[in-house]
């Protein structure tokens, strides 16, 4: 270096002789450790009781070892089989060997259920053949087909080949109304068997309409609360906060009492002679009921963020616009509304995120056409016990929600989330 002849400056030291720079780095490191150690307990708790369970379930959506676990011989043979040629004797022999063991160990039910998910209608094929498996004699190909002609169908073997693969895209394919096949990859399911995409679409539409209704009803109220004197607005705020704090089930129950065919609204309409007694409106146990009840439940989540944004807008802006000659409508649209966009974004996203995963209210007041994707996930978790499909449906829902959450963080910032 050119100026190396200049003697280096003596480093400034702390009282104990260590350089100040080092000392500062130590102090910063210590305070970092302190901050981290405060967060670690909760982080560990959330990981163990929340994040890991969800990942464990999501993993089931692409990984299912039910078949291969109980049919070691058959899985080995199926892996080497190309799925196009006629199944040979070695495959049939492996099938019989595994069925005999499965019958003895009582695991046949699980195997049959798993294949049945891939190729409906094959459950009894497995259970009935397993009962006779012990008595079968070689050549197995003929004796097995003799027990049930279905074994000659190559589709059954292809289904088994698919289920023998632990890591499989098949459940996601089903969740998107498709099928994953050995020979053609993904194929679209027949028109009349497409249910999940329709359901995702309906969930999206219902959430969007609930969001729209909440905005429509929440905006005027939030504006009123923000412009009234504090004393009055605090009183009116109770009307927003009380529903917010009241149990979800209480509010759903209340809507049943109001909307059912013998309920308050229909009774009123009949009493005033607007409708006849035998043509009462069906307002509940359908999509209308779901939308009304969900709008009521989520409305406070729209009003509160809107209110907190509107509260910060100085009223003098509107007066300035008026004094410059704008009509009240024009002043409102051109000056006031653009300033409320952050609130609209925050409230709208929050309502949409909460609505898209709603379960309780649709389950209780939704009837047939008011069910959302959550209800289907619950069905597959509790009734059909196809957890992998539930995980795949949940995975799609979860990625949608996380995307919105990311957007929310971008628009609002999660540290700015306010409650009441």
């Amino acid at each position: 270096m050119a100026d190396s002849h200049i003697a280096p400056l003596e480093p400034i030291t702390a009282a104990d002789g260590t350089p100040l720079k080092k000392k500062l780095a130590q102090a910063l490191f210590r305070s970092k450790v302190r901050a981290v150690s405060l967060v670690v307990p909760l982080f560990a708790f959330v990981m163990v009781s929340f994040v890991i369970p969800i990942f464990a379930l999501m993993w089931q959506g692409v990984y299912n070892e039910r078949f291969s676990k109980y049919t070691p011989n058959l899985t080995e043979q199926l892996t080497s089989w190309d799925g196009l040629t006629e199944p040979d004797e070695a495959l049939f022999a492996a099938l019989v060997a595994d069925l005999v063991v499965a019958k003895k160990e009582r695991t046949i039910g699980r195997i049959a259920t798993r294949v049945n998910q891939e190729y409906p209608g094959t459950r009894s094929l497995f259970t009935s053949t397993a009962r006779k498996a012990k008595k079968l004699t070689p050549p197995f190909k003929e004796s097995v087909i003799k027990v049930n002609k279905k074994w000659a169908k190559i589709e059954v073997w292809r289904a088994m080949k698919l289920t023998s693969q632990n890591l499989t895209p098949a459940f996601y394919a089903t969740a998107l109304d498709g099928r994953y096949t050995v020979d053609q990859g993904f194929v679209q399911q027949n028109e009349n068997r497409q249910i999940y995409v329709t359901l995702f679409w309906r969930t999206f539409m219902i959430s969007a309409s609930v969001m729209g209704l909440c905005l429509l009803l929440g905006y005027p109220v939030a504006y009123l609360l923000a412009t009234l004197p504090l004393r009055t607005s605090n009183l009116l705020m109770i009307m927003v906060l009380l529903p917010f704090w009241t149990s979800l089930l209480v509010r759903t129950t209340a809507w049943i009492a109001i909307l059912q065919s013998q309920g308050v609204i229909n009774d009123l309409l009949v009493t005033f002679g607007i409708t006849a007694d035998d043509s009462r409106f069906s307002l509940i146990y359908n999509m209308t009921g779901t939308i009304i009840a969900m709008t009521h439940i989520l409305l406070p989540f729209m009003i509160l963020p809107l209110y907190s944004v509107m509260k910060t807008i100085p009223p003098s802006y509107m007066r300035a616009a008026r004094s410059l000659g704008a009509t009240p409508t024009r002043a409102f649209i051109k000056v006031y509304m653009p300033q409320t966009i952050p609130g609209v974004g925050a409230g709208g996203l929050l309502v949409f995120i909460l609505a898209i995963g709603y379960y309780i209210t649709p389950a209780l007041v939704g009837g047939q056409d008011g069910q959302l994707i959550s209800n289907m996930i619950a069905y597959h978790m509790q009734k059909s016990l196809n957890w992998s499909l539930a995980a795949a449906l949940g995975g799609i829902l979860l990625s949608g929600v996380l995307l919105l959450y990311w957007a929310y963080d971008r628009v609002v910032g999660i540290d700015n989330m306010k409650l009441g």
Binding site: S31, K32, A35, V36, S37, L38, V39, P41, L42, F43, F45, V46, F50, V51, I54, F55, A56, L57, M58, L217, P220, L228, P229, L236, V240, L242, P243, T246, S247, L248, L249, V250, R251, T253, A254, I256, A257, I258, Q262, G263, H296, L299, G357, Y358, Y359, I360, S374, I377, A378, M381, Q382, A390, G394, L397, L398, D409, I414, M417, K418, L419
Partner: protein, 304 residues
């Protein structure tokens, strides 16, 4: 009501009142469903609708029978005379009493856990030295965002493998984790306005870290902590999806009992319970409002 300025035109005048009317209707929409429940719970008939007797304010059309049913349903000998045996019978055997006991037990345990962990984490997150602050915050808030059905299904799947499902501990853990985001949000909100020089002042006056925490920091964040705790409690108290998946009949809570009440045998007992819950939420709301005022007053003093 705010006076309209003198330059208001007739059109604006009319619109002003129409607008007030619309807002009034929306407020009705918000509050009416909750108010409708109250009179219906005193119905003498086992229906969910107003009878003609109720509309005529006939005293005989009203009764407390559904409130009695909360105590009696499931008892061994409900028709005995009132005595200690009757009380202990209610306490042990009434379905609703069991649900109430469970709800409070699970709610209080989950609240304590969520508040303790959440407050510590919020204090840590408020420090500027915290690395990956944003990422960690978004993970810790996520239990509030992830659809409950996914959370509940995941917990059901995972907890049954580690033998936590169908236990009190499993339900408490689930409710605690669902309550922590609220604690973090409310405590963070109180910490945002926290003047750091107060801590330095306290330390320069010779107070240790613990003394500073108890004497300076804590009194200022306590309202936030209590508010967060109340949120965590109401979250647990109102939660039903995780209970549906994780709890056995032994751990039935009030919302779970209401759920099966609505699904299976719809009776006004549910409305009586709903009324009690509305009263509870009014109490909690009042506490929260008092806390808010206290916090505002404290801050008002510290700002001058």
């Amino acid at each position: 009501m705010a006076k309209l300025p003198p330059y208001t035109s007739t059109g604006e005048y009319i619109w002003h009142y129409i607008y007030r009317g619309i807002c009034g209707l929306i407020f009705l929409f918000l509050i009416l469903p909750i108010l409708v429940v109250l009179p219906l719970s005193f119905n003498v008939e086992p229906y969910f609708s107003f009878t003609s007797g109720m509309l005529n304010f006939d005293a005989e059309a009203y009764s407390l029978r559904w409130y009695g049913d909360i105590l009696r349903n499931g008892m061994m000998a409900p028709d005995e005379a009132f005595s200690w045996a009757w009380v202990s019978d209610t306490w042990d055997n009434s379905q609703w009493m069991r649900a109430i006991r469970n709800s409070f037990f699970i709610g209080i345990c989950a609240t304590l856990l969520a508040t303790a962990l959440g407050t510590l984490a919020a204090i840590g997150l408020a420090r500027s030295e915290m690395p990956y602050r944003r990422l960690i915050m978004s993970i810790l808030i996520s239990p509030m965002i992830v659809p409950l059905i996914i959370t509940a299904a995941g917990m059901f799947y995972f907890y049954s493998q580690v033998h936590l499902s169908q236990t009190y501990l499993g339900v408490i853990m689930a409710h605690a984790v669902l309550g922590t985001p609220f604690v973090i949000i409310t405590v963070t909100a109180t910490l945002v306005g926290f003047d750091k020089s107060l801590v330095r002042a306290s330390q320069s006056l010779g107070a240790g870290a613990l003394t500073t925490f108890y004497k300076v920091q804590m009194p200022l964040i306590v309202p936030g902590v209590i508010a967060g705790g109340l949120f965590a409690f109401i979250t647990s108290f109102d939660e039903v999806v995780a209970v549906l998946f994780l709890a056995s009949p032994e751990q039935r809570t009030i919302p779970r009992q209401m759920w099966s009440g609505i699904r299976e045998q719809i009776s006004p007992t549910i409305l009586a319970v709903a009324t009690l819950l509305v009263i509870l939420s009014i109490i909690l709301l009042t506490i929260l409002e008092l806390l808010r005022r206290r916090s505002e007053r404290l801050r008002g003093i510290s700002n001058t």
